[in-house]
Structures are given as C-alpha cells and as structure tokens.
C-alpha cells in the first residue's frame, strides 16, 4: 500500500461519513475560498517512524505509523458546544476503525485524543489526533 492509497482511504473515509453540511473540511494543500468562516475541520495526515516487521520466518512487511491530525475550529465567542459536537462526530468516524483500501492491506486506527490550542486569530481551535498504522508486504 502506498502513501497515496493511504491518503485516498483516509480522506475518502472522512468525506463519506462526514454529514455536517454546516461545516467545511479544509483538505490538505487544497484551495479554500476566503473568508474562512463558520465551523471548519483542517485535515492533515502526519507520519512518524516506520519499522520493518516480521512474523516468524515470513512474510516480512513494513509497518508505517502515523497520525490523522484535524484542527477543529469555530468562531471566537460562540461557545464550545458546536466545537465539541464536531469533535465527537470526527472521533466516532475514526475511533478503532479498520479500513481495507486494498486486498490484504489494512489501516488500523487507535483512540483519538485532543490538544487544546485556545483562541488563534479569532477562532477557537482544538486539534484531534488519531493514531494509526498500516502494514505493507514488501
């Protein structure tokens, strides 16, 4: 499984399951029309160290680990109810889910966790991290 297949799988999973039409998803490195207002999710796929792995004598595979990072935000001074609703919906989409974008290949997600960024440039921001790993036979 390539990084591109991984991107398609993760973005596609979110795109298919995200139902809040009042919010906007800001896809990585894709133009978003200004001004950015209302509720937004700013999605990034981050990667950490990868390792070779083996089960017994064979097969040998590579384990790629990463984080789905999503900055959820709402306008300043609008409370946190809408923000928390977005966070809950996002977490439910990924929490302990397993995707299979190709036969025999899986992306396995862990339990999401949050980091509060507070008010940034007029928006209340919380970053959601969802750890994941995927294995590739090579």
């Amino acid at each position: 499984m390539s990084f591109e297949i991984e991107r398609k799988a993760i973005e596609g999973h979110l795109n298919t399951n995200w139902t809040d039409a009042t919010s906007k998803i800001l896809w990585d490195n894709v133009q978003v029309l200004t001004p950015i207002a209302g509720k937004t999710l700013d999605l990034r796929i981050l990667h950490t160290d990868s390792t070779p792995s083996e089960i017994g004598a064979s097969p040998s595979f590579s384990r790629y680990k990463g984080l789905v990072s999503c900055a959820a935000s709402v306008p300043e001074n609008t409370g946190t109810a809408a923000l928390n609703t977005m966070i809950d919906a996002f977490c439910a989409i990924f929490r302990k889910k397993k995707l299979s974008p190709a036969t025999g290949h899986y992306i396995t997600f862990g339990v999401p966790y949050l980091r509060e960024l507070g008010i940034v440039e007029g928006r209340r921001l919380t970053v959601i991290y969802v750890p994941f790993y995927r294995d590739s036979l090579e």
Partner: protein, 131 residues
C-alpha cells in the same frame, strides 16, 4: 463616482499605452465564483470560474523601499518578485477576491492583496505573486 470617470480613466490607460510602447499588457483575470466539490481520488477541487481578458492592464515592479514592507493602504508584506497590477475598473467591473488568479504570458499569478484607488471605483490595484 460616475461612469464617466471610469471611462475617462480607461481612456487615459489607452492613451498612455499609445505613448509608451509595451506599457499595456493583456492579462486574463480568473474570478472564482463558487467552490467546487472535493475529488478524493484526484485530491483536488475544481472551482467555478469566470475569465475576463483585459487588454489594458499595466504591470510594474514595486519600488525598492516597498519590498519587505507593507504598502500604504495594504495589509500584506511585499516580497521580492511581487508585481503591481493596475486594471481600469471599466475593464473589470467585479469585486475581486483573494481566491482569484491572473494569467500573464501563460504564467499564473496569485492575488495577494487588492485595493481600489482613492475614489474607490476607477482603478483596481493588485499585488500579485507568481504561483
């Protein structure tokens, strides 16, 4: 602001172009009118755009003391290579956005900032940057 002044400014651009060879540039202004739907497979969004071919634009460098500074009335820092683009309002009667782009000699330039002349209706003044 009268339509008459807008036309006078446009005429002034035309006269200047007659006096100084090569002063006027033909540019294609691409106005984004609506956001498209994200295509997960391609990883892109194709927005809805309307193109305007402008035949009387003036392109110039920023003055050396404007580079790395914020120009008067602007809000963004001018970087080396940025260009100033002047378009008569009569040639582009829309409200530009920072999502728009300009095509000049087959190269795409992003709109970094936009303001109007002091009368607010005669000339568009753009700060543009090579995409």
């Amino acid at each position: 602001m009268s339509i008459n002044l807008q036309l006078q400014v446009k005429e002034a651009f035309k006269l200047a172009g007659q006096q100084v060879s090569g002063l006027l540039k033909t540019v294609t202004y691409v106005n984004v009118t609506a956001s498209g739907v994200y295509n997960v497979t391609l990883g892109t969004i194709t927005n809805t755009t309307v193109s305007y071919v402008i035949t009387d634009a003036i392109l110039s460098d920023f003055k050396y003391h404007e580079v790395n500074n914020i120009i008067k009335g602007g809000s963004t820092i001018v970087k080396t290579g940025d260009q100033k683009l002047l378009i008569p309002y009569a040639s582009l009667s829309i409200t530009p956005t920072l999502d728009d782009t300009v095509s000049i000699d087959s190269a795409t330039w992003n709109i970094i900032s936009h303001k109007l002349d002091p009368t607010k209706t005669a000339v568009h003044i753009f700060q543009i940057r090579r995409a």
